[in-house]
Amino acid sequence: MSETGYAASPRIRWTEWLPWLAGVAVFFLLPEYLLFGARILTYILFALSLDLIVGYAGIITLGHSAFFGAGAYVAGILAAKVKLTDPIVLLVAATVAAGVLGVTTGAVILRTRGLTQLMLTLAIAALCLEVANKATPITGGADGLSGVTIAPIFGLFRFDLFGKTAYLLCLVTLLAGWWLVRRLIYSPFGATLTGIRENSDRMHAIGAPVYRRLLAVYTISAMIAGVAGALSTETNQFVGLNVLGFEPSGELLVMLILGGVGRLYGAFVGPVVFLIAQDALAKQFPQFWYLGIGLMLVLVVLFARGGLLGLADALAARVRRSV
């Protein structure tokens, strides 16, 4: 687990470069999987945004797809209906839109705790789904939003059929997102978030503006999720209703739990394992693949409470002790 706080060194350890090495290696070694790779990278960014609020700040949510969906739809609608097709401008627009949604919904749900909070996040995700479903002229409703065309990045790099450009865009954006989140969690602000998760009563008692801090992190998280949504639109050039609602939120939480909550890199491991397993299982057992995912989750929850990374930590500690 990455140790944070006032005595922690913020220096990047060598292991923290591994995901990026792997990311670059995939680009050169597995060119036929780049679209799938872009999807995984998008989900890693999405999971990273969730880890920031669930793992660090202790906010419970089953509605995080609202922000992913908002980002995806805003980028899609601007591209398909307004003909604003510059990918960077779309990313910025999605960030702003998701941020606005984050700050307005956060202002309500963060006044509550526990189950109430969970129900409110669900309700907000359901509302967003229903809005997207009913606003057919703008969103395409249940048929999805097609006609999305994305201009080349900086007018130079065209989005190709094999996902080369999309993959690199996702990788660079994820790098930026990771850098931002990492800075946040090592900062005094990040230490406060951990404090709020550990004991919000005490945070009040030491004079911390708990609500304001939570609202700030919730908004930042929403913005990152919005970027992930826009990336998904730019990669697929299509937006479907399945980006919204309970299911993607739940799946994302499962990914994060698989990888390890509150560990930063759990958000990397979880989506990789989940999406590859989903892909492999769906090919082998088209009707039963969810059973495999469920089994995996049960095993992790039973035997590896810290997720796969927690398990790796425990094994490493055991090896160190026995040496």
């Binding site: 006032y6 005595a7 404090g195 008692a205």
Partner: protein
């Protein structure tokens, strides 16, 4: 002339038909050691929670350094110099001892919300936290997780966190509760070393500690102030004996 650091005027709190604080008038002078005692369920912790703003009173006023803070949030009261400890350990359990104290110091130094530079770059926060730990003899435990400390030391961390806020008024809610008698001496030593200018109100059941520490005592029974005065008068008051001390001092 004495100066009133903290005062309540006709403070009341009811939960439905149950009145847990009934017209409490209370004054805490600057730099004094004042004990609040009373049998279980007398409303002591409720009273503290109203002082800190954790609980809103049904009626009455809380004044901090002469200013009405009744409607202010906990955060605003802390910024005006009100610190507290909790009856049951309310620590950041998974964090290190150092971070437990540093979080409070950072809030007081107004750097707690800084999102960009790493926390370890704020050396003045860390150094102050380490200094505080040193005064409590906890510097060698700085890197340990607070849950891994023995209970007595956790109680000291609890006090250290509150001191990191540099309060002018400190409310200690049973600082020695649950501490084995061997370790309670350390708590008393720590209390004796607290800066003299801080007004301290202590809630405590350990009467030895109360009578050694306190210059004034307020006795709270069923949400009402039964008696207030110097320790010698309290110890001799038959009503106090009957209501509370009798159970313990026989």
């Amino acid at each position: 002339m004495t100066h009133t650091a903290l005062e309540t005027r006709a403070l009341c709190k009811s939960f439905g038909a149950l009145t847990v604080a009934d017209q409490i008038d209370f004054r805490l002078e600057t730099g004094i050691r004042h004990a609040l005692i009373g049998p279980n369920g007398a409303g002591k912790t409720t009273f503290v929670n109203m002082l800190t703003g954790r609980l809103a009173p049904s009626s009455g006023q809380v004044l901090l350094d002469g200013g009405d803070v009744t409607r202010l949030s906990q955060e605003a009261r802390v910024k005006r110099g009100l610190g507290r400890t909790f009856q049951i350990n309310t620590l950041f359990r998974g964090m290190t001892v150092l971070d437990n104290v540093a979080l409070g110091v950072a809030e007081r130094q107004r750097v707690g919300g800084r999102p960009w530079r790493p926390a370890s770059a704020y050396a003045h926060v860390r150094d102050e936290a380490v200094d505080l730990l040193r005064t409590f003899g906890l510097e060698t435990d700085a890197r340990r997780r607070v849950v891994d400390l023995p209970y007595g030391k956790q109680r000291l961390v609890e006090i250290a966190i509150a001191l990191g806020l540099q309060p002018t008024v400190l409310l200690l809610d049973e600082p020695a509760a649950g501490v084995p008698s061997l370790e309670s001496g350390r708590i008393l030593d720590a209390l004796a070393q607290l800066p003299a200018h801080i007004a301290i109100m202590i809630i405590e059941h350990d009467m030895d500690l109360v009578f050694r520490f306190a210059q004034r005592i307020t006795v709270l029974v069923q949400g009402q102030v039964l008696r207030e005065g110097p320790p010698a008068e309290i110890a001799d008051d038959p009503r106090v004996h009957q209501a509370y001390l009798g159970e313990r001092r026989g």
